[in-house]
Symmetry: C2
DNA sequence: TTAAAGTACTTTATAAATTAAAGTGATAAA
DNA sequence: TTTATCACTTTAATTTATAAAGTACTTTAA
């Protein structure tokens, strides 16, 4: 049994913005670009880049539609993303001295 | 009351290697370079750079001595580092759906 | 009606951080 | 002696993240 190492934490998830995206997407059916931006507190460019990264990893999917006349990007976590996120949390709990009450 | 944002997570701490360093140093009086390297599972160069970063932030202190004839770097968390680490954990617990049992 | 401001992003450029490779200086082993 | 090893540091290369521009509209307001 190898000792638990911090390198086990999925680097795709271990980014403040991507962690925020996945945390939100794990708890709602889907979320818009604007909603994510507001909740996470980042810039348009940064959010865009990180969503693209997560989509590239197959952790989320994005659908582009229109809300009236305005473009609307809707994001959703995938099964793979949900599994990776759960595993990330599990690893964190094993590694950190957390005391959730 | 502003919504909780992931940008509140201290970027100095939110790095897999530095998180590992602080987690260990928070639970022991001090630790050697070799011990940290083994426990965290990283390379010499990476560990060295991250220790220097933490020292620069005032989160840890390093003492260089000799163990017999070999150089020995001993690391210790500072009060500031301990406070920042606690705050990081507190923020994480507020942000993530953790279920520590 | 048309100019200005806003929305909802993406793309490109720049800065910062991580990782990998090479380097240092000493000891120990063959 | 030369080869290897230890305990790191430094430099270089790659990857990330942040910031600045850019695109393609829509809405408001003169």
């Amino acid at each position: 049994m190898t000792p638990e190492k911090f390198s086990q934490l999925d680097p795709v998830i271990h980014s403040r913005v991507r962690l925020g995206i996945l945390t939100i997407l794990a708890s709602v059916k889907d979320a818009s670009f604007a909603y994510l931006k507001d909740k996470i507190g980042t810039t348009d460019g940064n959010l865009s880049a990180n969503l693209t990264r997560l989509e590239g990893e197959g952790y989320i999917s994005m659908k582009k539609t229109f809300a009236g006349k305005k473009p609307l990007t809707t994001c959703r976590i995938t099964g793979k993303g949900r599994a990776a996120f759960s595993e990330y949390l599990r690893t964190l709990e094993n590694l950190l001295p957390l005391k959730t009450e």
